[in-house]
């Protein structure tokens, strides 16, 4: 067990290097993925144009701008395509290569996606600058909140990754998991605050959103940026987020372990 851990740690720098090389090699694809996360910009212009006629449930135009820029930032840093990658590798049989390695695929996939983060930051950085310049009023100045923000974003990243990894592993059981990832995205759009701030949702649905994991993949870091919360609530949010992170990683690894037994490599 110990040797497996040290093996994994030793392999990490190499895995990250491979990930960087992959991102550079598939740069066209990478740009397309970045473009798919621009929907908050459209939503931002829609809601600001709505809010021009007077504030909307407490949100004025500036608040919408801050909200959607923060959403864009978090989504840019946390979005990934591991489910699609896994489906393809399982379908094509190239998954066999990955299984030969003495490291759990959850780690190898994580490393390959983490390596894309510096490139994503290049995109994210200008958003931060614009956010700070345009909506100083809509952004918190609380040092504690800004201090824990990276932690919250990291956990949001892990939750998103774990969910998509589990969906990808479902491809071991079903041949077409496309429908499931579409369903995931539909639920995510609504319950994570991606389409519109959660506090605008009708009360019963907002209650449902509060207990689902989606909120912790996006809305929580966004709220940490755009609202100044009591420290007690910040602690509660982070604790809940940590709970979801651990729980969903367990689910993801379990789904993988159950599925991989059914794997029969196709192709040569």
């Amino acid at each position: 067990m110990k040797s497996q851990l040290s093996r994994t740690v030793r392999a990490l720098p190499t895995l990250l290097r491979i990930g960087v090389a992959e991102t550079v090699a598939y740069r066209a694809e990478f740009v397309v993925w970045i473009l798919t996360t621009t929907q908050p910009l459209i939503m931002m212009s829609l809601w600001t144009s709505v809010a021009r006629g007077g504030s909307f449930k407490g949100y004025d135009a500036d608040a919408f701008v801050a909200y959607y820029l923060a959403t864009l930032l978090v989504r840019q840093l946390t979005g990934n395509w591991v489910a699609w990658q896994m489906m393809e590798e399982i379908r094509m049989g190239t998954m066999a290569m990955r299984l030969l390695r003495p490291i759990h695929p959850f780690v190898t996939y994580t490393a390959s996606h983490l390596a894309a983060l510096p490139f994503r930051s290049i995109v994210a950085l200008p958003i931060v600058v614009i956010l700070l310049i345009t909506s100083s009023g809509g952004v918190t100045h609380d040092p504690l909140q800004l201090g824990v923000l990276p932690v919250s974003i990291a956990m949001a990243w892990l939750i998103t990754f774990a969910i998509l990894f589990a969906i990808g592993a479902l491809a071991f059981f079903l041949t077409q998991t496309m429908a499931i990832s579409t369903l995931y995205f539909g639920l995510f759009s609504l319950f994570s605050g991606y389409l519109l701030p959660l506090d605008l949702l009708p009360a019963p649905i907002a209650k449902v959103a509060a207990v689902l994991p989606f909120r912790f993949t996006l809305s929580v870091p966004v709220e940490l940026i755009t609202r100044t919360l009591p420290h007690r609530e910040v602690a509660e949010l982070l604790a809940a987020q940590a709970g979801w992170t651990v729980g969903l990683i367990v689910v993801a690894v379990w789904t993988w372990n159950a599925g991989v037994r059914r794997f029969e490599a196709v192709g040569t």
Partner: protein, 262 residues
């Protein structure tokens, strides 16, 4: 021509037969369609829960746009996407060569290759939404408006088909297309909103650059009786141009196709 009709009929029959093999899906797909419709409607309900009117669009007319969006999404997920997924698969494993060998046009062969019959549920949902929207409005559309609205639905579907074919043609060059289709899907999602609700720049982009408005907003306006003749003609003309362009792109893509099997 009859050859192609027969081809479509045969492939449709195969798809229906294979869908029938998984009859349990009937219930799942039905429930999914309803849930999906509710999900799509929610932002609209939130918006019109507070506002009566956004840039001249009230809830009833926005619901008609939403119905067109739902209907087109059914066409996209029921006809266009499955066929293109099939195409990508064939390019990758080399069996696209056999399609090229067949004595029919490859584009027609591919475009009609697979269906998801259960998506018909979404079409029913779209129709129900239209009926409800006009019931809310308190006035039914005239026969001429119904005719134009139905015709422009077909036109919108053709415009969408052209965009997706261009995207599929791109896969001959870049080899992978899943994420390009995902991007188009994400952009198409904007079609649920009447384009007039968006500010000027986006309105321009979604009318002239990526003609999402042509697919949902204009046909909805035709049914609502607010589309003027010029705009209707421009919609039809623009779509025909798009079809021609996509055909050209497809042809030149085919020419640069190098089989994966050899």
């Amino acid at each position: 021509m009859t050859k192609y009709l027969r081809l479509v009929a045969i492939q449709l029959r195969i798809s229906v037969a294979s869908a029938m093999a998984y009859r349990a899906n009937f219930l799942i797909e039905g429930v999914m369609a309803a849930a999906w419709l509710a999900l799509t409607l929610l932002p609209l309900i939130v918006l019109y829960g507070v506002r009566q009117d956004v840039n001249g669009w009230d809830l009833s007319s926005a619901l008609v746009v939403m119905a067109y969006f739902t209907g087109l999404r059914a066409v996209l997920e029921g006809v266009i996407s499955p066929s293109l997924v099939d195409l990508v698969e064939r390019i990758r494993n080399g069996s696209f060569d056999y399609v090229l060998l067949k004595p029919v046009d490859a584009q027609a062969m591919i475009s009609a290759s697979r269906y998801e019959p259960w998506k018909a549920f979404d079409l029913i949902g779209a129709l129900a939404l239209i009926v409800y929207a006009f019931y809310r409005r308190g006035a039914a559309p005239s026969p001429a408006e119904i005719l134009l609205g139905a015709a422009l639905f077909v036109v919108g579907a053709l415009a969408m088909y052209s965009l997706w074919i261009v995207c599929a043609a791109a896969s001959f060059w870049v080899g992978r297309l899943d994420n390009l289709m995902y991007l188009l899907g994400a952009i198409f999602d904007t079609g649920r909103w009447p384009v007039m609700v968006l500010p000027g720049l986006w309105r321009f982009v979604f009318t002239f650059v990526i003609p999402i408005a042509v697919m949902t907003t204009f046909p909805a306006m035709a049914l609502l009786g607010t589309l003027n003749g010029t705009a209707a003609l421009a919609t039809i003309g623009g779509t025909l141009a798009l079809l021609a362009i996509s055909r050209l792109v497809w042809r030149s893509a085919i020419r640069s196709y190098t089989s994966a099997s050899s």
